[in-house]
């Protein structure tokens, strides 16, 4: 996260850099204030909020925690404001505070928001564990998608086709799983589907110099068309080719029994654990290995890479296919991992959010994970508030994840420099 605050490099940012330092602190301040006025004061005296951290499925059952709404929300808001003040001070001192500040700040504000939302509701209480778990779950396709984008763009190829790769992955996973009667077979098939789309992208973008974004967009439409057609014909005629198959949970022994953390992190299906591993491995490989160095060289300055004997286009083709495979794997989330049958356009635009997450994460696997989690959390929060019933109109709740993302990129991340050769076919 620290990388997210280092100094900007290009003119765009230079112009901004002088002011940009302020965007963060001011943003924090405003949010802190909003939190104080709306959630703190707004919680209304006398109300109580009940937090529950345990789910009936849990091993330990922890009693629910009931707090006076107004007091708690106000206290948390004050903490947030204090942090904002700290940020202002740091800016004045031209110091950079670590990643902890935004994190703690977010927790404080979220806490006060939830306290307010749960204020005076007998029927419902704030489900911390449930909230965090669905945050993880909802971010899975975004993580895989963003990783795919990162792999491709680091080698200089823009991958707008993530959406299509997710969707085709979801489709083939369902098809194969249903046909073989084995969800894991579907899990294996998904990356193949994604890789296929990736290969098409590579052929057209790298070999035939077609505008990468055009290919990407077209591939998305292509996949939507094909899957929808097969869904309406093949799968409709033989329902046994599109059943809901589920990978099922694989609770990690011991770990999964830790309160909160256990259910949130260690009680998922195989895909989630694969996700953890993929992020770590890719992050190391991309920034510490020879492969990574060469890939990044190709994406930054293909000519330079060429002059030291690196095969630019071969590298790109491989990365794009690999990226496609990863996105395809993420597609498995929608069907076999979620235990659902395939449905028309069921990826519902997640591929584009993933694209944003990739940039928000500054083209790094770690960043992609954090960005995706941020979005997943905002999305889960929106659902949670809807469930508990809140005075906010549902359409505005619907905006929450998107607003949160905009704030994150404008306030915290600021300028991010894409790989220099991104989008440009390498012709010699």
């Amino acid at each position: 996260m620290t990388t997210l605050v280092d100094a900007p490099v290009t003119p765009a940012a230079d112009d901004a850099s002088a002011r940009r330092r302020w965007a963060g602190p001011i943003g924090l301040g405003l949010i802190g204030l909003v939190s104080f006025i709306f959630f703190g004061i707004g919680s209304g005296g006398g109300n109580e909020t009940t937090f529950s951290v345990a789910r009936q499925s849990d091993f330990f059952t922890i009693p629910t925690l009931t707090v006076p709404s107004q007091l708690t929300a106000t206290a948390l808001s004050v903490i947030a404001l204090a942090l904002a003040g700290l940020a202002v001070w740091a800016t004045l001192q031209r110091r950079t505070l670590g990643w902890w500040l935004p994190v703690v700040f977010t927790i404080a504000v979220m806490g006060s928001l939830l306290t307010w939302a749960g204020a005076g509701r007998e029927g419902t209480n704030v489900q911390i564990t449930g909230l965090l778990t669905s945050a993880i779950v909802l971010s899975i396709p975004l993580v895989f998608g963003a990783l795919s984008g990162t792999l491709c763009e680091r080698s200089g190829v823009i991958n707008i086709a993530i959406e299509g790769q997710l969707l085709f992955g979801a489709f083939l996973a369902a098809l194969v799983a249903s046909a073989t009667g084995n969800a894991y077979a579907g899990l294996v098939a998904a990356p193949l589907a994604g890789a296929l789309v990736g290969a098409l992208l590579a052929i057209f973008a790298v070999k035939y110099w077609v505008d990468q974004i055009v290919v990407g967009v077209v591939l998305n439409v292509l996949v939507i068309g094909l899957t929808s057609f097969l869904f309406g014909s093949l799968m409709r005629d033989n329902p046994n080719l599109n059943q809901s198959m589920s990978l099922g949970r694989l609770p990690v022994p011991v770990l999964s029994e830790i309160p909160i953390i256990g259910p949130v992190l260690f009680n998922h299906n195989a895909l989630v654990y694969i996700m953890y591993v993929t992020v770590i491995v890719l992050h190391i490989m991309l920034f510490k290995s020879r492969w990574g160095l060469r890939v990044r060289a190709v994406g930054e300055h293909p000519k330079a890479a060429d002059t030291v004997g690196i095969k630019v286009n071969r590298t790109r083709v491989r990365n794009v296919i690999l990226g496609g495979a990863i996105a395809g794997l993420g597609g498995a989330f929608f069907t076999v991992a979620a235990g659902l049958a395939f449905g028309k356009e069921m990826t519902a635009g997640k591929g584009f959010i993933a694209l944003a997450a990739m940039i928000l994460g500054r083209w790094s696997p770690k960043g992609a994970l954090l960005a995706a989690l941020l979005f997943g959390f905002a999305d889960a929060l929106r659902l949670q508030l809807g469930i508990m019933g809140s005075p906010i109109p549902s359409q505005f709740l619907g905006m929450l994840p998107y607003l949160a993302t905009i704030f994150a990129v404008a306030g915290l991340v600021g300028f991010a420099k894409p790989p220099a050769a991104e989008g440009k076919p390498y012709k010699k």
Binding site: P11, V214, V215, I353, L360, Y402, V409
Partner: protein, 415 residues
């Protein structure tokens, strides 16, 4: 004359000779001949042909009549090929009849209706495409046209149904409303980029979703609903706010189309002949040099995004004041996204964008006929459309496929 080369420019970095100029008329003629033999026009023709073949085959596979024949293929292969041929030709003719000229129409007036439909559908694509192209030239990858269209249309719609103003004035005010709406929605990412460096791809994607939620919210309020109905659908806009139909009520073609052509001219002038455009292109090509030459990169970003938003807003007006006449959450259809492809296909040059938009318009216009007459499932229609676009975007591929001569300047690289 940037125009003349526009559609054939492979990128603004192609060969040392990137521009023709009056005083080189002789060489220009030589180049003209070269461009005709190697032009993208020829490529386009072949591209459509190739895509049709592939798409046609898909239709064949999707078509049970044909599949049936495969059963007794070996006994009576004739049937199979007859069926295939039948499907293919029906697809070809239907597309032509659906998009250009309806040959089995009683008279010309009816016959040309498909073509006017193509132009009508192309209108919002031209406008939004121009906006996006403008951004691309300035190095901004704005994918926010969708949201900008929605907001523009929302404002315009409100002016259209809620206010009543004298004839001409009402239309003008409504159009201005659309433009303002779009411009504001374009300003936000421009401003954020300039001030905080926030990447426009993120902000515009998010703003698309936010716009959608906003319009849904508006439509859930009685102020935007029809009297006595709670459907999320606005009242019809007043006729005084509608774009006049330029070919009479028999056709949908409306004034917005002429507006779009005018806008294309304007954008060309802005880009190629105005000091603003000069800055836009400089910033797009090399922000460092632009800055050292005294241009304000942030100002350019904001300016470009506002202009792009305004154009997308105009596209919104084509929807709400031109064809739909009533605001729904789906008022922007998928035009905002198609416009990205349109702009890139047109290589961000105004003339190119107009052509690309017409192509898309034709493809969309042919859709219903394909479904109803040729019985092609809507999803396969999508596939055919995207294949055509893909091939048209891949001249080198089409050239290799059909052994066309490669244009000289493709080989060159500005080192």
């Amino acid at each position: 004359m940037s125009e003349s080369t526009a559609t054939t420019d492979r990128s603004s970095a192609d060969g040392p000779e990137s521009e023709g100029s009056p005083e080189e008329a002789g060489r220009d003629f030589g180049r003209l001949m070269r461009e005709i033999t190697q032009s993208d026009l020829l490529v386009v023709v072949f591209a459509i042909f190739a895509a049709m073949l592939l798409g046609g085959l898909l239709v064949v596979l999707a078509d049970k009549d044909v599949l049936a024949t495969t059963g007794y293929f070996f006994s009576r292969p004739g049937d199979f090929f007859a069926a295939v041929g039948g499907t293919l030709s029906s697809v070809f003719t239907t597309m032509f009849q659906g998009a250009i000229y309806n040959t089995n129409a009683s008279d010309v007036a009816v016959g040309i209706r498909p073509f006017t439909q193509t132009l009508t559908v192309a209108t919002p694509l031209i406008l939004a495409g121009l906006g996006l192209g403008l951004g691309f030239r300035a190095g901004l990858f704005n994918i926010g046209a969708q949201g900008q269209i929605i907001i523009g249309a929302t404002v315009g719609a409100y002016v259209g149904f809620a206010w009543d103003l004298p004839v001409v004035l009402h239309l003008i005010v409504a159009v201005v409303g659309c433009v303002l709406g779009g411009a504001i929605w374009g300003f936000i990412p421009g401003f954020l980029k300039a001030r905080t460096g926030a990447h426009e791809v993120i902000t515009t994607i998010m703003l698309n979703y936010i716009a959608l939620n906003l319009v849904s919210f508006a439509l859930s309020k009685t102020a935007f609903q029809r009297p006595g109905s709670t459907n999320p659908q606005s009242p019809l806009i007043a006729e005084t706010a509608e774009y006049p139909l330029i070919l009479g009520s028999a056709y949908n073609l409306h004034l917005g189309f002429l507006l779009a052509l005018a806008a294309a001219g304007g954008v060309w002038w802005l880009l190629e002949r105005s000091t603003w455009g000069f800055q836009f292109r400089a910033v797009g090509a090399n922000p460092h040099a632009a800055r050292t030459a005294g241009m304000s990169v942030s100002k350019v970003y904001i300016l470009v995004m506002v202009t792009a938003g305004a154009l997308a807003g105009l596209a919104g007006s084509a929807q709400i004041l031109g064809t739909e006449h009533s605001l729904t959450a789906g008022v922007a259809a998928s035009f905002g996204f198609d416009a990205i492809t349109v702009a890139l296909l047109g290589r961000s040059r105004p003339l190119g964008i107009v052509f690309a938009a017409l192509l898309f318009g034709a493809l969309r216009a042919a859709g219903p006929a394909l479904q109803v007459q040729a019985g092609v499932p809507v999803d396969i229609v999508l596939v055919i459309q995207s294949l055509i676009v893909l091939f048209i975007a891949a001249p080198p591929l089409v050239r290799t496929m059909f052994r066309l001569p490669a244009p000289a300047h493709v080989k060159e690289v500005a080192a």
